[in-house]
């Protein structure tokens, strides 16, 4: 008995034997799976890398800093230690006080300027929060620059720079009492060191991949220069490790440990000489939160709010008194807050809305008697563009008060530097228009005797209505002391909420971590970019598998004949496919990492404009590898099943005869189907393009893209019909085209495969050419108002707010603009807008913008309109409780993922969330990355935003450069940076265009792969026909003729694919092409398509040569 061989036959063994036997086609199949997996995994790894790099960059730039507090006032540096002590140490261990301000630096010799510099005043603890070594200790005049800033300025260690920084002001600059000029402090500093732009050397509060410009100064020296010694405006809260992201639920715990004192909040409590307790503010006006908390806390003690303001004139008839303070309060009789005695010796009665009381001195000056009409002239409480406006109101004289007791109280007037601290009125140095000539000796005498004691009183409500503003409506709150109510107890009990006072900790590390998820899912983006590459690989898998199945038709027939069920046969073949897919997918995942590395290298070099900075590094997560392998196996198995599917209907006898699914195709049915598909597709294409003619912008581009695609589909269906019907013309005849005719007939032998080949090449060429329509070309002429420039010549931003009106001669004079520049600027018109700093939500920032920059647009700009948007006036209207806003379409779609009608919610930095209703989008504009709202709404949400920092500038075409230079030269102290709108649009367009180029490059690669794959399929097909070719040789065809025959067939398919793809793509981009908006990179595309043609033909030639070189006899036998 013969021993039985081992192992026993099993399905797996059968599959493995089959793989071994059909190893060549299995290898080709595996190659296609490797490519599909590599591209898929590569895209996922690119996503990992982008997120990982953004995260790593953000965390690296923050070091151990978890939270940050930057406020608009200066507090004691001791607050840092107090905060540190009161915070649970489990999570945070260090709090460092710092000064953080925006500034401008200039190289004094070359006058090279760097704008948007973050000035950081630090002490010895700061650098310990990062991992890099600290620079040398700084003397008072030393400065440390980071490398990008030093490079921008062109300075080295040992050289000097000029630092321009904002002069702090307690009084809001937009109030008449705030200074509009001399808002910049200049310092000369000595560059002590230059630190690399990593770690805290690139410290940044709003994450961006761009390299920040940072300058580091000695904190105390900076504080002194700002006249705020021993004070800071920022707290940096550090944890133990750079890599630990603090939990969100601990935010309130940390915030509740922050207890700024009244001094830190800029509030004062003191006992006045009259004996009452005065609750005031260093900023002249009390914050609403401070008022609210005081009135609530001391409600039982009858607190008395006071609003004191400056009247330019008090007049009765022609008699007037210049520059007097007036207090708005509700009289009380109880000492020490009252009584306010009338000249009759009676307590004054409460004043009505239109009533006024004046003191005896004033009454004497005005010759007043009760019932007289008293006119008050005063500046409106908020100024715009630095322009103060005088207004007036008339009151009826209700009482004349004795200039004694409660009415003779200079403490009713808050301190105002340059005014209340001056010895005489003539010494005043007020920020408002002041006419010293109006001041009489008698007024000086009053000042000498009574200082800023109010000369008149109105009801609190009337005063707050006249002089209240976004900065507040109360200058002080007075309470009468009791045994229990002392200065100390008031100071202890008065606790305005720190958050509402702007002392809100910002969890910068967590926000940066969240933002590092990115605006764009790069894995999805690269999956999209590599779409054709993946499709080509998957189609190759399907094609090769179908080819191998076709070759094995007799084998399948045998299995069916001996009793294998169709499902069992399919299972065996799928097992083979699965085994190939598994092994190839694992290899492919490895190759995918290499592919991702290559793409990242591309992003750091060729495609750098897409990401702005070469920061991206390779990060690989096991999840992405597994996902890449899983998805790839599933997709490839799908393709294999697709390849197998047609075999189910092939009769066993036909299979046994070696004929596969193609031979079973019913030409008549397929022909009819193709005919209808062609008709419907072409009709739809015509309808869509006609509809597209009536549309505009992206909608039109989309319609024509669809029309082109449908046309391509229709033409392919026609091609299939021609091939299925064998309607390629007669083969017989003579002449140079006889071989070509035979080649066409050969192509028609396998209509499915040939149509698929044409379709694969056509689809790729279509996409490559058609996406050119979306290449942005900035307008050469900025003047069209409905374009992305809005018709503006220049767009500008300044580091420091500009408070004067640049459209008036006076305003320009206030800014110290020279007469020659003034003449240039007179030809321009500047629309100055408010700006609330935040993260850049434009396509230039890859981080998710959590708190985008907000811009307040003045009424004049809303009325002017532009940017192809008609809804600007809507911003001025009130839509429920939400603030109507407009966004750039790209910002809405890609950065914020919102649309018209959606509501954005944004923190205001004082614990409130602002609901912003999106009422409109502007397309392809210079306004990308910002939230645009009406100025009044803006000021209601951001009352502390002073002046104007964003500018849209109209200028005559021949003076654009002159205006730009004049503005930058004149306003250099403010870090004014202007840019032609066309340039700005070009910068933004570069990003989108680079992405499209990336897509086209990878699409080209995919097309090349697809073509080479088709050549492989062709090789197999030619190999199958070797007997037939040998017969032709036997009948007298030369080898060269046979190579030509095969080559003609390949060329016909390739050229048909390229022709159909390019022709239908031209339909898709017709509007852009004729409108001049599309910038089709013809040279690059021609090179790509040419390369594809050459590579495809070369591969086919090699295939044909290999086959026709086979020995004649063996080929004839089909061995």
């Amino acid at each position: 008995m013969t021993p039985m061989p081992d192992p026993r036959p099993t399905s797996w063994r059968f599959a493995l034997d089959s793989l071994r036997y059909h190893r060549r086609i299995a290898a080709a199949l595996a190659g296609a799976v490797v490519i599909a997996t590599a591209v898929l995994t590569g895209a996922l790894v690119i996503g990992d890398s982008m997120r990982g790099s953004l995260r790593s960059l953000a965390l690296d730039r923050l070091g151990r800093i978890d939270d940050c507090l930057v406020v608009d006032r200066f507090f004691r540096v001791e607050l840092a230690d107090e905060f540190e002590r009161s915070m649970p140490t489990a999570v945070h261990e260090e709090v460092v006080a710092a000064i953080i301000l925006p500034g401008t630096l200039e190289q004094p010799d070359s006058h090279t300027r760097a704008n948007r510099v973050m000035l950081i005043g630090y002490d010895e603890h700061f650098w310990q929060l990062g991992s890099d070594p600290a620079p040398p200790a700084l003397a008072n005049d030393d400065i440390v620059l980071n490398e990008p800033l030093a490079a921008e300025l062109g300075v080295k260690v040992g050289e000097d720079v000029i630092v321009r920084l904002p002069t702090p002001s307690d009084i809001p600059r937009d109030s008449p009492l705030g200074h509009k000029t001399e808002t910049i402090t200049n310092r000369r500093a000595h560059v002590k060191a230059i630190v690399p732009a990593r770690g805290l050397g690139a410290f940044n509060l709003f994450p961006t991949q761009q390299l920040p410009h940072n300058a580091y100064l000695n904190r105390e020296a900076l504080a002194k220069a700002l006249d705020e010694p021993h004070r800071a405006n920022a707290l940096l809260v550090a944890g133990r490790s750079q890599d630990v992201i603090p939990a969100a639920d601990a935010d309130s715990q940390r915030q509740s440990a922050l207890h700024p004192t009244l001094d830190d909040l800029g509030l004062t409590v003191r006992q006045t000489p009259r004996g009452y307790i005065n609750l005031g503010s260093r900023r002249m006006l009390l914050d609403n939160e401070a008022v609210g908390s005081a009135l609530t806390e001391f409600a039982a003690d009858h607190p008395q709010p006071v609003m004191t303001y400056l009247a330019n004139t008090i007049a009765i008839g022609k008699r007037e008194i210049p520059y007097s303070t007036i207090s708005a309060l509700d009289f009380t009789a109880e000492p020490p807050l009252g009584p306010f005695e009338t000249i009759d010796g009676k307590p004054a009665e409460p004043l009505g809305e239109n009533e006024i009381a004046i003191n005896t001195w004033a009454a004497e000056q005005l010759g007043a008697k009760l019932g007289d009409e008293v006119q008050l002239k005063y500046f409106e409480p908020e100024s715009t563009h630095g322009q103060v406006r005088e207004t007036s109101r008339t009151f009826r004289l209700k009482a004349i008060l004795k200039l004694a007791g409660a009415a003779a109280d200079p403490e009713l007037t808050p301190e105002l530097k340059g005014v209340t601290d001056q010895l005489s009125i003539s010494d005043w140095n007020p920020p408002f228009p002041f006419e010293p000539k109006r001041v009489r000796d008698i007024d000086e005498k009053y000042w000498d005797d009574h200082k800023a004691t109010p000369k008149a009183f109105v009801a609190l409500r009337a005063g707050q209505a006249m002089w209240g503003s976004r900065f507040g409506n109360t200058t002080s709150i007075r309470v009468a002391p009791t045994k229990a109510l002392t200065v100390e107890s008031v100071a202890a009990r008065w606790q305005p909420g720190p958050v509402k006072m702007g002392f809100e900790l910002r969890p910068v590390k967590r926000l940066a971590f969240e933002a590092s998820a990115g605006t764009t899912p790069f894995d999805g983006l690269f999956l999209g970019f590599s779409f054709y590459l993946i499709v080509a690989a998957v189609m190759l898998v399907a094609l090769l598998f179908r080819l191998s199945i076709e070759r094995r038709a007799a084998e399948i027939g045998t299995l069916a004949a001996i009793g294998f069920t169709p499902r069992h046969i399919a299972g065996l073949l799928i097992c083979e496919g699965a085994a190939i897919s598994l092994v190839a997918a694992i290899i492919g995942a490895g190759v995918g990492v290499g592919y991702a590395w290559l793409m990242l290298w591309g992003l750091r070099t060729w495609w750098l404009p897409a990401i702005g900075a070469p920061f991206v590094r390779l990060f690989v997560s096991p999840g992405s590898l597994f996902n890449g392998i899983d998805i790839s196996i599933l997709v490839c198995l799908g393709a294999i099943i697709w390849g197998l599917w047609p075999m189910r209907r092939v009769p066993v006898r036909q299979l046994l005869a070696g004929q596969g699914a193609e031979a079973a195709t019913d030409a008549r049915t397929t022909g009819r189907l193709s005919f209808w598909v062609a008709r419907i597709s072409l009709a739809l294409a015509a309808i869509t393009s006609l509809a597209g003619l009536k549309l505009g912008g992206m909608a039109q581009a989309g319609a024509f893209f669809a029309a082109g695609f449908l046309a391509m589909f229709g033409v392919l269906a026609i091609a299939r019909r021609v091939l299925v019907r064998g309607a390629t013309g007669s083969v017989l005849g003579s002449g140079p085209t006889r071989l070509l005719r035979l080649a066409l007939r050969n192509a028609a032998r396998n209509p499915g495969r040939s149509t698929l080949s044409i379709g694969l090449v056509a689809a790729a060429s279509f996409l490559l050419v058609a996406v050119s329509a979306f290449h942005l070309r900035p307008p050469e002429d900025y003047q069209r108002r409905d374009s992305g420039t809005g018709g503006f010549a220049l767009v500008a931003e300044s580091d420091q707010p500009i408070l004067s009106d640049l459209n008036t001669e006076d305003g320009r004079a206030d800014m110290g603009i020279s007469s020659s520049d003034d003449k240039t600027l007179a030809a321009a018109h500047v629309y100055a807008c408010r700006l609330q700093p935040g993260s850049d939500a434009s396509c230039l920032n890859l981080y998710q913008a959590q708190q985008p920059r907000c811009v307040g647009l003045p009424k004049a700009l809303l009325e002017r309109g532009g940017f192809g948007f008609n809804g600007w006036p809507k911003l001025d209207s009130s839509v429920n409780a939400s603030t109507p806003v407009v966004l750039d379409q790209a910002t809405a779609q890609y950065a914020l993922h919102v649309g018209v009608g959606d509501t954005l919610r944004m923190p205001d930095g004082r614990g409130n969330t602002i609901p912003l209703l999106i009422v409109g989008l502007v397309e392809g504009s210079i306004l990308q990355g910002m939230v645009l709202m009406d100025e009044r709404r803006f000021l209601a949400h951001f009352p502390d935003a002073a002046g104007y920092r964003f500018f849209l500038i109209d200028a005559p075409p021949d003076k654009v450069r002159d205006v730009e230079q004049a503005l930058e030269r004149s306003l250099s102290d403010f870090g004014f940076d202007a840019q032609p709108t066309v340039e700005r649009l070009a910068n933004l367009a570069t990003v989108q265009n680079t992405y499209l180029s990336t897509f086209q490059s990878l699409g080209g690669l995919g097309l090349l792969l697809g073509t080479l794959g088709l050549a492989t399929v062709q090789l197999r097909a030619v190999f199958e026909r070797r007997g037939e070719l040998a017969l032709m040789r036997a009948t007298g065809f030369s080898r060269r003729q046979l190579v030509e025959l095969v080559l003609f067939e390949s060329a016909a398919l390739l050229l048909a694919g390229l022709g159909v793809g390019v022709a239908t793509a031209l339909i898709a981009i017709a509007p852009q092409l004729f409108g001049g908006a599309a910038s089709v990179p013809w040279r690059g595309l021609s090179a790509t398509l040419g390369l594809v043609l050459v590579a495809g033909l070369a591969a086919s030639t090699l295939a044909a040569r290999a086959v026709v070189r086979m020995p004649l006899v063996e080929s004839l036998r089909g061995e």
Binding site: R8, G563, T565
Partner: protein, 227 residues
Amino acid sequence: MLLVHDILKQYPTRSTPLDVLRGCSLELDAGQSLAILGPSGSGKSTLLSIIGTLDRPTSGTVTLDERDPFELSDVELARFRNRKIGFVFQDHHLLPQCSVWENVLLPTLAECTEGYDQASQRATMLLERVGLAERLDHLPSELSGGERQRVAIARALIRKPALLLADEPTGNLDRTTARSIGELLVELQQQERIMLLVVTHSAELAARLERRVEIDDGRLVACQAAG
């Protein structure tokens, strides 16, 4: 027992349907053998495919062991074929990637009711019987034409079918090899007591079988018994 009754087979064409078989009927009992003769294109192989359930008749019935296979579902039909019918083709149709041993046992991979040990014993027996016991590990490409056909015969018999169908089993072989294959087929048929139906051009092979019929104009016509 095999009962073939009034089989009609038409193929659609652009004009009128083409009648290949016009009412073929035959009967075959267990242990009987029958040769079907006829010129090329007469429909011999079509009839064999219908009897072997590889093709369906336009009308008429086939009954094998009292079952009409065309009433079965696809899966049941495959099982029926596996258990009841063995095929030997002119082009042997061995799987090139499988060894002799694997090719013979291939039908048991579709369904194995008696267990692998029994199947392998039978495979050993059959391979010894066809004279290839020493070539178990060889691939089809390493065998001669006659040897391949012997393996195909062993494979056809592995499941102890009731009916063995052979379509021109000697068509691709030289005369000596053809003779030995013919002898082997008949020997095994008698040994296994199965029905054997052979489509052939070879009068020599047909003469070895008990009965002979000829296809003429799509109908079966009995031939005279060979001497």
